[in-house]
Every structure is written in C-alpha cells, then in structure tokens.
Amino acid sequence: MADWQIDLIKVVFIWVWALLIAVVMTWVERRASAMMQDRLGPNRAGPFGLLQPLADGIKLFTKEDIIPERARKILFILGPPLFALPAFSAYAVVPFGDKIVLGGKEIILQVSDVNIGFLYVLALGAIGVYGMVIGGWASNSKYSILGGLRATAQLISYEVPMGLALLTIVLLYGTFSLREIVLQQQGTFLGFLPNWGFFKQPLGFIIFMVAAYAEANRVPFDLPECESELVTGYHTEYGSMRLGLYLFGEYVNMGTLAAITVSLFFGGWGLPYVDMSRFLGPVSYGIASFFVFFLKQAFFLFLFVWVRWTVPRFRYDQLMGLGWKALIPLGLINLFITALLVQLTT
C-alpha cells in the first residue's frame, strides 16, 4: 500500500470511530442518567435500547426543517456545521494507539504526528465557539443571543487556565507532539508510580479538567444552554437535524477532550507496570494498545455523565469568579513551581 492510501484509511477510520463513540455516548448518557435517578431510561429499541440513537437519528432527519421567519437564513444554516466540524478535525492529532505492523510496514496509529500537536487541538476548540455564536445570533431571539454571548465569555475565561495547565505539561516533557508526550509517560518513577502526567502534575490535571468541562459546555458549566434560564440557549430556535448536529458536536467534543486528557495525563495507550510489546505480536500489540487507549477514553467519557448528575449548575458570576479568581492564579502558581523544579532538576 502506498503511504497516501494508509493515511486515507486512517482518516476514514478515525472519523467513523469518532462518530460511533458520539452515537453510543448519546445512549450511554441517557441510560446512565436513568440509572443514577433510579429510572429505566430508553430500553425499547433493540437489546438494552441500544438502537435508540438510530431511532433518534431517523426522527431528526425526517422532521420538518423549520427556519424562523426573522432569522438570518445563511448564518442560520452555517451555524451547526461550523460547530461540528472543528470537533471532528481535532481527532487528527490524537494518538489512538502505538503502532501496528501490517505487511512488513510499521504504521503509527495517529493520523498526523505534527510537532505542534495539542496547540492544534486548542486552536480548533477556540474555533468551535463560532458555531454557537453564529447560531445564537442568526436565530434572532433573545434567549439565543444571550446563550451565544455567554458562550464567548465563558470560552475566553477558560482558555487561559487551560493553556496554563497545558504549559506545565510542555515544561515537563519538552515537546508539543502528543505522540512523544505519550511515549515519555511509559515506565515508572520513584520506583512505584506510573510515569503519568497525572502523578507529576496533579494540580495541572485538576485545572485542565475543570477548564475542559467549561470548554465542552457540560454541566456544571453549561450556561450557554442553561435550561432553567434560557430555554436551551443558543440552539433554542433550531430543530430537526440542525439541532442534531449541535447535540452531536457536543458529544464529539467530549470525545476529543477525553482523548486529550488520556494522552496528556494518563499515559495514552500504555498500561502501567506492564510493557505489552514484550509478549504480544506486532499486530496484536497494535490492536491491544488501541483498546487500552479506548478504555481510558471511555472512563473519562463516562466521567462527563457522572459529573453531570452530581454537581449542580454554577451561577453565572460564580462561573466567572471561579475562572478568573481561582483557576488562573492557581495555574500561574503551578506553572511557576513546575518551571522552578524543572530548572533545578535538569
């Protein structure tokens, strides 16, 4: 196979995989929330209700597509795809496995190992907000505009602590490439702890996690949607598949953030204490590393749901206060200490 064919297969595979994760996540979200509230949740379509996402998809596709009369038509149509596309594109730099040897050729399980790795993810995360803003503005409704307005303010406030937390990781590993960061996290330090970013940067991890929930607009930071005040915020006027794209983009976003968390703080595809490449063949090792990565990612995806039904929504001023008065100073202190330690130990 030529290199471009391999690349094409990787791109198609990761797109389908990201889609699949998002589809299953809609089911997991509803079943898990039902479980936590002592309900049953959707259990009619297929075994355990597993076909429910399919039924929802058919419903959304066949519903009447309504564009409000006073909406700005072009922008209204442009909003949902602009929200969903950046979320998908961010998967391009996620190292979803180590490497696999097929037909004597070593294939790295990552679409593109660029040396600016996670800066690319950050940049795309920032672009995603325009989808919400355009949707909110184009709907020409009070709730939608307020939702879009909140989305912009929230994004700016939480990009800074997220960047500060990620800078500490760069200081530790000395590279922006996600694959190299994962490679450096194999093995142990101090004799017993896995060499993971989480153990070296616990504070950085907490700051990153909080900021990630705010970036993904998930409870407790889902103020752009905020049902109790804004109906559903920026997508109040949307229906049919346009609404579907917004909801779907959110799940893809969660998948990306979970994958980034795993590769930066939890050793990516590596198992702690066990070097899988020693006793697995080249092909099975590739598949095993892919599944280890997926399992870790699945845990963080579930955590999104778990937190949603555990922590109540923040008030808007509390959200801003947490971002600017708590996370940013903490991030700065953490960055300073890390820089000092790195300077002293190398």
Partner: protein
C-alpha cells in the same frame, strides 16, 4: 503557478474586502475570521506551522471572540451599522494613512523575491524550538519590550475599571 497560494490569497483579500464593506456587524467579524484562517493557511505554506497555529488560536480564538462578544452585547441582529464616517477631513486622513500602508507593503515586497528564491530551509525551520531560541537569544529585548507594553496596558485597564467602579 502556485495554486495553493493563489487560492488562499484570493480568499484572504476577498474576505478582507467583505469585512470592510458589509454593513452587518457579525458577518463583518466572520469575514475577519476568514481572513485570519486564510492567513494561517498561507503561513503553513511557508513552513511555519507554529505561527499558523498562533494566528488561529490567538487572533481567531481570543481577540476576535472578544470583538464578537462586544458586538453581541451592543447590537441586535436587526440593526445595521450607521453609514461610514461623514467628516470629510477624517476620510482624507484615512486615505492618506491607507496610501502610506500600501507604500510600506510595496517596499516590503522587495524582500519577498529573496524569500521565494531561498528554497533550502535551515535545519529545524518553523519548529517551536527554533522559534523559542530566536525569541530568547537574538530577540530577547524585543520580546521583553512587548511583554512590558502588554503589562502597561493591563495596569491601565485595571486602573480605568477601578475608577469607574
């Protein structure tokens, strides 16, 4: 013919013209977003991925989001912007300033011929490490000056905000 360059150059210039001619505030901001993204694509073409990412994450991801925030605070979707500046002397000054900028660009174009001629890029060109080295060795003074300027702006902003509170 460098098609990649031509496509994104046309995109950047077209979106730029759209930005300054359209009378709706938000589409104008989106035009600017397109300019930024087209520029980032051109930086990528010049083997400078880090600059391209900064272009997107700082200009499109932070500064323009602030601009959009202000637009959404002050203007509703039904409003159109007032006609441009009516004062003739202001318009004349703007024209002179514009001509001056174009002249600057024309002078800058002389350097581009050298840039295009140089096909062999130095080792590690555009890599974050190389840029960091340049910042903290060769251009440390410029770098620090920029940070001091930003600090001054920050202090001034806090002062103004406290005065009104």
């Amino acid at each position: 013919m460098d098609y990649y360059f031509i496509i994104f150059a046309i995109m950047a210039v077209g979106a730029g013209i759209f930005t300054i001619t359209v009378k709706d505030a938000l589409p104008s901001a989106l035009g600017l977003l397109t300019v930024f993204i087209a520029l980032a694509a051109l930086y990528l073409h010049l083997h400078a991925p880090l600059i391209a990412i900064f272009q997107v994450s700082i200009y499109a991801g932070a500064i323009l989001v602030l601009v959009v925030f202000v637009i959404m605070l002050l203007i509703t979707p039904d409003e159109e912007l007032e006609t441009t500046q009516k004062n003739v002397s202001y318009r004349a000054m703007g024209a002179i300033l514009g001509a001056y900028l174009i002249a600057l660009l024309a002078i800058g174009l002389k350097g581009i011929s050298q840039l295009v001629a140089q096909k062999n890029l130095p080792e590690g060109f555009g890599h974050p490490k190389a840029i960091g080295m340049l910042f903290f060795k060769q251009y440390i003074l410029h770098f620090e000056m920029a940070s001091v300027l930003l600090l001054v702006a920050l202090v001034a902003a806090i002062y103004l905000a406290k005065k009104n509170a």
